[in-house]
């Protein structure tokens, strides 16, 4: 194959694919590879995709052959596709379907069909899997409860399971999406939201009905969840990050679906309701009296005939939930997230339990279409004051971060930024309560922390939405799932070290579409560890195409 310099794909030998966004055939190439390649990064000029075993198996499960995949790559490749990649695609795809899971004849357990004698022998040698398997002719028998665990281990061994075991049909629940919000605003599901919902539902056959939808903050993941619920019309358990998010889900359901308050329950530290649609927190589900106790609230997963479980912010799935999720593999499972990254690196486990990525779209693409706000990212650097430089120099590493984060010059910068954005609704987000408290006092703005009772929070949020409060100061409780539709400026004065996911979530607080650009400021102490952490935090967003401008401010310039 000759070099085709105008083609947009550069296929690397390590299974990554570079996609040149400036090439004429960019759109076509992206559509061509999306079914079998995972989007890793989408910065300004060149996007990176990866041919992972999971992405190839997903394509195989959707009926694509290795030849189809290679043909698509060759059609858009700038340079010849490496032979090893062709081989690897063939080898990986050929593994799909060698192991099939279906209902066992006893109607209770599952049968893992493995026709290849060599693979059967290999599986028996793998202790982590073998302990769940009982040999039968042509494969293995396994108890239903180990469905997820076995699948997870097999994927690690390089053997994807074609899961044809039937998905449990939940108890029916008749409801639909409203054509108009209860609040009177017009409502419709956007194209990409519909696409995401359809990708999840699939053909309703075995192999579909579980997976993860990845959409940017502010792009309406909740609506994707509700659209899927409305398509399935089954009892649904929604698990989310905190009580504010629970209330937000409930409010959204009431606003945009025909569900009534009687049909929606809250399962949290405050209330323990189980209703046809129940919204729970991860916190309550993973609570237990003592370290050795069972998790008493896990019963919620089996408390009703759920037809769908929605894991909101699925990247936050706490480890104990892994276990119970592994046990409920016969239920439809939907993961929703904006950031695939987990700082503990356990993304693969989450996705093998909840299900593979079914839909993803670059943030900048939605921004270009106006579905999320354009955001301008700025990092402001300021020196530590003279009297803190020696204490900083001799401090332990962890304490250095705190000293840098609590730089006493930061409040002055915040003041100036607040003044600069006199017409904006502003969120000031930080990690350390003392610092936040000082800033709140300084600006005479309300402060929301983990200690703030939910009714108080709701009151402050309401005042903010109504424009009665222009600035609110929030701790990390604001990292997730707070609906602040009118915030257009976020000022981040400190954070959890180098957390990329936190950075993205915080940016997400200002991405609701609006008629002006949003501004995201990070205030960082110069020549401190904060710079390094800040660079790491920005990785995810720069990979999504965001550009940071760095400004150096001098103490003498501060008012």
């Amino acid at each position: 194959m000759p070099v085709s310099p105008d083609n947009p794909l550069i296929i690397q030998g390590d299974t990554t694919i570079l996609l040149d966004v400036h090439a004429a055939a960019f759109e076509q190439a992206r559509s061509a590879i999306t079914p079998f390649a995972e989007l890793e990064k989408s910065p300004e000029h060149i996007h990176t995709y990866r041919l992972s075993p999971l992405s190839l198996w997903n394509a195989a499960s959707a009926g694509m052959t290795a030849d189809d995949i290679v043909k698509r790559l060759e059609e858009f490749a700038r340079y010849p596709v490496p032979e090893f990649i062709k081989y690897s695609i063939g080898d990986t795809v050929s593994r799909f379907g060698k192991l099939t899971m279906r209902a066992a004849d006893d109607g209770v357990g599952l049968f893992l069909a493995v026709n290849d004698v060599a693979i059967r022998a290999e599986l028996l040698k793998q202790r982590k899997v073998a302990k769940y398997l009982s040999e039968r002719e042509g494969g293995f028998y396994l108890p239903l409860v180990h469905r997820g665990t076995v699948k997870q281990e097999l994927v690690k061994l390089g053997f994807p399971v074609k899961d044809e075991a039937p998905i449990a049909v939940g108890e029916p629940l008749e409801f639909s999406l409203r054509p108009e919000c209860a609040s009177g605003k017009p409502f419709s599901v956007r194209d990409y939201q519909s696409d995401a919902a359809r990708s999840f539902i699939g053909d309703m056959m075995p192999g579909a009905g579980f997976g993860t939808v990845v959409l940017p903050c502010g792009s309406g993941k909740t609506i994707v969840g509700m659209a899927i619920m409305a398509m399935l019309k089954m009892k649904t358990l929604i698990v989310t990050t905190n009580v504010a998010a629970v209330h937000q889900w409930m409010a959204e359901l009431l606003d945009k679906t025909t569900l009534t308050m009687d049909e929606i329950g809250e399962y949290s530290g405050d209330r323990k309701e189980i209703k046809p649609v129940t919204v729970a927190t991860y916190q309550i589900l993973t609570w237990r009296g003592a370290e050795d106790d069972e998790y008493p609230h896990f019963k919620v997963f089996r408390a009703a005939g759920w037809g769908l479980i929605v894991y909101d912010e699925v990247h936050m799935l706490p480890a104990p939930i892994f276990r119970v999720t592994a046990e409920i593999q016969s239920m439809r499972r939907l993961g929703l997230t904006a950031t695939l990254v987990r700082e503990d690196g356990r993304e693969d486990e989450v996705f093998s339990l909840v299900g593979p990525k079914r839909y993803d779209v670059p943030w900048k693409e939605l921004e270009a279409k106006g579905w999320i706000a354009e955001a301008v990212c700025r990092e402001i650097r300021i020196d530590l004051p003279e009297d803190l430089r020696v204490p900083y120099a001799v401090a332990e590493k962890r304490h250095k971060h705190r000293l840098a984060s609590e730089n006493p010059l930061k409040p002055a910068i915040v003041r100036q930024l607040v003044a600069r954005h006199a017409d904006d609704q502003i969120l000031i987000i930080g990690q350390y309560l003392k610092q936040l408290d000082e800033i709140a006092n300084d600006l005479n703005a309300p402060l929301i922390t983990g200690q703030t009772p939910n009714p108080v929070r709701e009151t402050i949020y309401a005042a903010f939405r109504e424009g009665k409060e222009r600035v609110i100061v929030v701790s990390k409780v604001a990292n997730f799932a707070i609906d602040l539709p009118d915030a257009s400026v976020a000022i981040q004065i400190s954070g959890s070290f180098g957390s990329r996911q936190e950075e993205a979530q915080r940016l997400g607080r200002i991405l609701r579409p609006k008629d002006r650009s949003s501004f995201f400021y990070s205030v960082v102490s110069r020549y401190t560890v904060e710079e390094t952490f800040s660079a790491n935090r920005q990785k995810f967003l720069t990979e999504q195409g965001y550009k940071y401008r760095i400004e150096e401010w001098e103490a003498g310039d501060l008012i």
């Binding site: 299974t15 060149i46 760095i550």
Partner: protein, 733 residues
């Protein structure tokens, strides 16, 4: 001396017995008095006859043509060179017999004044031989290359930069025994897509060997350290040459012979390009005498893509054909293996060796190379075709993330600060130049910020001058002092260049201050490495003269074109000539040009018929038939009674007396060789060709002494143990 005169000289210098035997065969009975020059004129006239020439060419069969092609393409080879070409398929004795036969048929001859014994084509037949017989494809099995296969040389410019970056990032990657540590290998595997995990590990291992042999990877305190200056030295070479040189170094080819071996490899590769060596020469001519062969950015020397693949044996033969350096010949197998390991040739599905594209042009790229893409993520994506020097810049200032069609680097604080420490300046400008556009704001800011940081905390080498009050003002204002004070480190504390030590003392003394500098404790001083000159600079002065051989029909015409030489570690050597203008017979000749004549059998049948009609003795008929078999009879009138003198040439088995007689005949003629067969130490029959020197007696045994041909090794054999002794008449060979 013209070639015709040389041929005549060769005949005239034959021993009389050989000369007259040869002449008698073609001209019949020679009557006295005779004049050798006159006889030669008669022979020339005979050979120039149309019917004689037709007979000569009619009787050239495929086997003759293969050997004649080797003689032509090797450009007057020595017997040793010929034997190397056919090493894998012909016993030397058979080969020698064939050469003797070609000489008897007056198709080739040996220059008697040439100690090396080079073999020439007979100039009387040479033009027709070149037109109708000499065919490179008889020696080289080749086929069209498979452009659909994406192949990558291990030491492409992109790879070299990536390896350098890798070793820099992982100085602990290499074990004391030279192997690669497991974790480092895994790390490399995740970054370099050399067709699978094992291949990536091997690649790193080979890269380490090549870098070490180049002096670019050194060990201090158990950790590897990259010497970019040594890598810079390689920037004088074309990309193709670099790949070859590093492949050879990785393959353990003796450093002393790397230059010659690389020349040979380049000639061989040129022969596999569509237009042959002419293409390489053409690009050299277009860019000046040197630039074509050196690595001007984006202007590789060998613009033509190697379009042919050949089998392993053919590549080995190509190396032999491309070399006239006997020291190289024993290496040709290792050279081939090294180039295959180094990915300069890849193994095709049919066992043929596919040449990898070693330049942008040969990779099918047109136009100037694309710029490096620098993203706000601090990623620097380098497309193929980045110049070697730019690749090294990236390797110095960024860390390799992955290597594929594009090399992906990440600009990190560590990588950039390390570059500053190494003395690199203008890092930001360098990245801007590579990208061709302003850098993303955050990247530009951080590069500046890291530079400021580096400058704020730094180590300087030099002499510290400390002056306390009340002498400060006097010292600072002493005549000539201002230019010596490089930096003021603190009030009264100054940094002075080490090189200015004497000047400083003199200036202080002149100002009236006695000052004694403590003795310096220098660490190891890095040797100064001479920076390569830019293309076109006077390095050419050191070039050896072009090959002294006269231009002839050759696969690898020896005309110098430019510079493409690499120094051994720590040295800068003058360049050696590259293949250049000329025609690649291999590439340009129509495949399968040689066709065995259909007239040959008819001519032989006619001779048989004539012989049958003659009234000759049985011995005479046998002798003439033997000559006809050896294709020495070119015309009816050679079948004359007087021309036939039968001679016994061999003795076998129990015929001890016959064997001794044949040995004695060979010794008395002085020019004949002996073919002998005997049983070796394990009872296996061995066949040897000897140049006999004596027949000695030891006790009751006769011993044949001589030198083995072509090795020249001394040989002593008991005549009683010889199962065959055959005299090989030397004639013109």
């Amino acid at each position: 001396m013209s070639n015709i005169d040389r041929w005549r000289e060769a005949l005239l210098k034959l021993p009389d017995a050989s000369f007259f035997e040869l002449l008698r065969n073609y001209l019949g009975e020679i009557k006295t008095p005779f004049n050798k020059h006159d006889l030669l004129r008669q022979l020339t006239a005979f050979l120039n006859r149309r019917d004689t020439r037709d007979a000569v060419f009619a009787m050239i069969d495929r086997e003759d043509a293969v050997l004649l092609s080797a003689v032509a393409l090797l450009d007057r080879p020595t017997p040793r060179a010929i034997s190397l070409v056919f090493e894998d398929e012909k016993n030397y004795v058979e080969l020698h017999m064939k050469l003797v036969n070609l000489a008897e048929r007056l198709l080739v001859f040996r220059d008697p004044d040439d100690a090396a014994g080079r073999i020439w084509l007979n100039p009387l037949f040479e033009p027709d031989l070149l037109d109708h017989v000499i065919d490179p494809e008889l020696l080289i099995k080749k086929r069209e290359s498979e452009p659909t296969k994406a192949r990558r040389a291990l030491f492409s410019d992109a790879s070299i930069g990536a390896f350098a970056s890798f070793f820099r990032e992982r100085p602990d990657a290499i074990k004391a025994d030279g192997g690669i540590k497991r974790k480092a290998a895994e790390y490399a595997t995740s970054r370099f897509g050399f067709s699978g995990a094992d291949a990536s590990e091997t690649a790193i291992d080979l890269a380490a060997k090549a870098f070490k042999a180049s002096g670019a990877l050194n060990f201090t305190s158990g950790e590897a350290e990259i010497d970019f200056e040594r890598l810079e030295v390689l920037s004088r070479l074309s990309e193709e040459r670099r790949a070859i040189v590093l492949s050879f170094r990785a393959g353990g080819i003796t450093e002393r012979l790397i230059e010659s071996a690389a020349d040979v490899a380049q000639r061989a590769i040129s022969a596999l390009s569509p237009a042959g060596p002419a293409a390489a020469a053409g690009s050299a001519a277009a860019s000046g005498p040197v630039a074509g062969a050196s690595a001007a950015p984006g202007q590789p020397a060998s613009a033509a893509s190697p379009a042919f693949a050949c089998d392993e044996e053919s590549l080995r033969r190509l190396f032999v054909l491309a070399s006239d350096d006997e020291e190289i010949w024993p290496l040709v197998g290792s050279m081939r293996d090294a180039l295959v390991s180094g990915g300069v040739f890849g193994l095709g599905s049919d066992g043929f060796l596919e040449p990898a594209p070693l330049s942008r042009a040969s990779a099918g790229e047109k136009g100037p190379p694309s710029p490096v893409v620098i993203q706000p993520t601090f990623a620097a994506l380098a497309p193929p075709g980045l110049s070697y020097r730019d690749g090294l810049f990236l390797a110095k200032a960024a860390r390799i993330v992955r290597l594929g069609a594009f090399a992906e680097y990440e600009i990190t604080r560590d990588s950039v600060v390390r570059a500053f420490v190494d003395g690199m300046r203008g890092v930001r400008e360098g990245f801007e130049r590579l990208s061709g556009t302003p850098l993303p704001e955050n990247v530009a800011f951080m590069l500046e910020s890291w530079y400021k940081e580096y400058q704020s905390i730094r180590l300087d080498r030099g002499i510290v001058l400390t002056v306390t009050d009340p002498f400060r003002a006097a010292v600072e204002h002493a005549e000539g002092m201002a230019s010596l004070l490089k930096r003021t480190l603190a009030p009264g504390v100054y940094l002075v260049d080490e090189a200015d030590e004497k000047r400083l003392k003199a200036t202080l003394e002149k100002a009236g201050f006695a000052c004694v500098l403590p003795p310096a404790h220098h660490g190891a001083v890095k040797p100064t490495v001479v920076q390569p000159s830019s293309p076109g600079q006077p390095e050419e002065a050191g070039m050896p003269p072009p090959d002294a051989k006269a231009a002839g029909p050759t696969l690898f015409p020896r005309q110098e074109a430019g510079t493409d030489a690499v120094g051994a570690p720590g040295t800068v050597v003058p360049p050696s000539p590259l293949p250049s203008a000329g025609t690649s017979l291999l590439a340009t000749m129509t495949p399968g040009r040689f066709r065995e004549s259909e007239d040959g059998p008819a001519f032989r049948a006619k001779l048989d018929h004539e012989l049958e009609a003659m009234n000759l003795t049985r011995e005479q008929v046998q002798e003439l038939q033997a000559r006809m078999d050896r294709k020495l009879i070119l015309a009816d009138d050679q079948l004359r009674n007087g021309a036939v003198r039968s001679e016994r040439l061999e003795a076998r088995a129990m015929d001890f007396a016959g064997k001794v007689r044949i040995i004695e005949q060979a010794l008395s003629r002085g020019t004949d060789a002996l073919e002998v067969v005997f049983r070796g130490p394990h009872g296996i029959p061995e066949r040897r060709l000897l140049d006999p020197s004596a027949l000695d007696r030891s006790g009751g045994e006769l011993i044949l002494a001589g030198k083995a041909v072509p090795s020249g090794d001394d040989v002593r054999l008991y005549v009683s143990k010889l199962s065959l002794v055959r005299r090989v008449r030397s004639s013109l060979i």
